[in-house]
């Protein structure tokens, strides 16, 4: 296995739902190496998305440790977690989640702009990335003027344009038809192989599991199987 970009140790996450305590993660240990193309799978409620949120610094654990590229996330304040997400992690969401008032170009540019990257450099990177995801010529379209597949490509462009250490994708193909889902997976696989981008998916989709080189199966908040193809 390559150097670990993600190190999860004895991760526990419990939620309080009324008077009931829900144990979403029950002591997960996981290492993900640089350049991996890994799928987290499991039935609904198995803890996939919870684990992804922990790795993405979107949520804080009840106990345990999460390190991204050697940096411990537990104990970081809101601003530090924001900064880590901005600079080290890319996200692709199930519902695309583009900013509706910004064009494809501006959505892809958003992360670079928040980082304070200069305009010329932003332009070069955004144009190159949009071309890489097959959206050349569609830069000025608003999300509402793009198909679902195109919107998800913009989301992928937004996730990778800042060359993050890790891209987390939560059910990226769930809202796409089969053909478009395959095309998107091909795109991400290509980006993984050619650019070395690390992808971690939370998914139910057999297409993603088929494309993944490693499949980690979660059941009841624990890793039940870790299969490297």
């Amino acid at each position: 296995m390559a150097d670990s970009i993600v190190q999860v140790r004895q991760l526990v996450r419990t939620y309080q739902q009324g008077s009931i305590e829900v144990k979403a993660l029950r002591g997960v240990d996981l290492d993900i190496g640089t350049g991996e193309f890994t799928a987290l799978m499991g039935p609904s409620g198995s803890g996939k998305t919870t684990l992804l949120n922990q790795i993405g610094a979107l949520d804080t654990p009840t106990s345990g440790s999460v390190k991204i590229d050697g940096q411990e996330l537990v104990g970081l304040d809101k601003v530090a977690r924001s900064s880590l997400r901005l600079n080290r992690i890319g996200f692709v969401f199930q519902a695309y989640n583009l900013i509706p008032v910004l064009s494809a170009y501006e959505n892809a540019e958003f992360v670079l702009m928040m980082r304070g990257v200069g305009e010329a450099e932003r332009r070069d990177k955004v144009m190159a990335t949009l071309a890489a995801v097959g959206l050349a010529g569609m830069e000025h379209r608003l999300p509402g003027e793009l198909s679902g597949g195109q919107q998800q490509r913009v989301a992928v462009a937004r996730a990778i344009v800042g060359e993050p250490a890790l891209v987390l994708a939560d059910e990226p193909t769930a809202n796409l038809d089969s053909k478009t889902g395959y095309e998107l997976l091909d795109l991400m696989r290509t980006l993984n192989e050619e650019r070395g981008v690390t992808f971690v998916f939370a998914t139910h989709d057999p297409k993603v599991m088929e494309a993944a080189r490693r499949v980690v199966t979660l059941v009841d908040g624990r890793i039940a199987e870790d299969l490297v193809k």
């Binding site: 979107l58 601003v79 924001s82 900064s83 996200f91 900013i99 008032v101 910004l102 958003f110 928040m114």
Partner: protein, 417 residues
């Protein structure tokens, strides 16, 4: 650099919800235009009131005998009115060379005709000088004539006073007043009648020349007040200082009109304050509307803010996006409101606004008639103050929604539909 991106998102959001932006902006702009128009109208009416009150009842600055303002004793006079006028003129040459000076004497007594007797406030004036400082000469009813400077027997009577005395032009009346040592009787002939619309003036006032009034008090050469009239009322403090300096050790008091006519001044102050209270209430109502709109707009975008936070946008940057929306909306609406306020004020300044149907030809305020025709005047301080407040209210109304949005947790926010 990130600021430009945040500002762009803010501006796009305003444009995306164009109808809502226009409605909210219109409420702000309309409210502001109304405030500006009302403020300018109010300023015009105050100016008219002050101009008329100051010109007839005092001056922008007055020189009176020491203690007269408190005592109002008609025997407390400025000695040597003519020489005092000369000294005042000399002092004015440096600070307000175009100022006009006129002396007046006030005599209270009884006026008798062959048929009736009435109380009277007789004002001794210098007719030529008086015509340059007040509009009494324009109030002489047709058939009568303004007094000549050397007319020591002529008198102008308020129209109602003449009616109660049952006298007409050319008739004789006798003034009975308390002179320096004994009661003085002095014969006058009615040269004309005055119609001002103010009950106190038309019913109880008479005008005679200065020497005639001085004779009635047995105080030749003295005056109740030496009045100074300015083209630019803003010069009052400097003029007061210069004239007070010129008066040296003399036993006189040099007062600005605000102190010489405290009732009228208080009226303008209280009226301004009540108007400001009303403006504040309007401002709060508009701000509540803006708050409602911005809050609604934030609640609709919770998911969007959740995504931005997930991508690494800092909470304070989310705060700024919404604050920028308030700033931009406030700026645009304030600009439109300012333009509308100016545009709606201009016709009134040119043609005047006739309140005759509402208040009759004249209305009396603090003993002064106000014209039914009001000409708004620029109150730039008030105008830009209103703009600043409207803008600030809009920005303040965005603060709470901005704070609310900045405290969202990305995971929970992205679950919102």
């Amino acid at each position: 650099m990130a600021s430009a991106g945040l500002l762009r998102i803010a501006a796009r959001n305003l444009r995306k919800n164009l109808r809502r932006t226009l409605i909210t902006g219109s409420a702000i702009a309309g409210g502001l235009a109304l405030l500006i128009w009302t403020g300018n109208l109010q300023e015009g009416s105050y100016s008219s009131l002050i101009r008329r009150g100051v010109s007839t009842m005092a001056g922008h600055v007055v020189v009176q005998a020491e203690g007269y303002q408190a005592e109002q004793d008609m025997h407390m006079l400025v000695e040597g009115a003519e020489s005092t006028e000369g000294e005042v003129q000399a002092a004015l040459s440096a600070v307000a060379p175009d100022a006009r000076v006129a002396s007046r004497v006030l005599v209270q007594g009884l006026l008798q005709s062959t048929r009736n007797t009435s109380g009277v406030a007789l004002v001794g004036i210098e007719p030529s000088a008086e015509a340059t400082v007040s509009d009494w000469h324009e109030k002489v009813v047709d058939g009568g004539e303004w007094l000549a400077d050397d007319d020591t027997q002529g008198v102008l009577l308020g129209e109602k006073l003449a009616e109660s005395l049952e006298v007409e032009l050319g008739d004789k009346v006798v003034l009975m007043a308390q002179g320096e040592d004994e009661v003085v009787h002095r014969l006058f002939r009615v040269r004309g009648l005055l119609r001002t619309g103010v009950a106190d003036i038309d019913g109880f006032m008479a005008l005679a020349t200065l020497p005639a009034a001085q004779a009635a008090l047995e105080r030749p050469g003295a005056a109740t007040m030496v009045t100074i009239h300015l083209d630019d009322p803003a010069l009052v403090p400097e003029v007061r200082t210069a004239v007070a300096g010129a008066m040296g050790e003399r036993k006189v008091e040099v007062l600005p009109w605000q102190e010489a006519l405290p009732e009228m001044y208080q009226f303008t102050v209280l009226d301004r304050q009540s108007a400001q209270a009303m403006f504040f209430i309007i401002g709060v109502i508009v701000a509540m509307g803006v708050l409602n709109t911005v809050l609604m707009s934030v609640m609709e975008r919770v998911r969007e803010f959740g995504v931005m936070l997930a991508l690494g946008t800092r909470p304070r940057q989310i705060f700024r996006i919404i604050l920028y929306e308030g700033i931009v909306l406030g700026f645009l609406a304030t600009s439109v409101g300012l333009a509308l306020g100016i545009l709606t004020t201009l016709p009134g300044m040119h043609w005047g606004i006739d309140f005759g149907a509402m208040m009759g030809d004249n209305v009396e305020v603090a003993g002064v008639t106000m014209d039914a025709m009001v000409y708004p005047e620029w109150d730039w301080g008030g105008t830009f103050g209103s703009c600043a407040i409207a803008w600030l209210m809009t920005v303040l109304a965005a603060l709470w929604p901005a704070w609310h949005a900045s405290r969202l947790e990305p995971v929970q926010a992205m679950r919102q539909v």
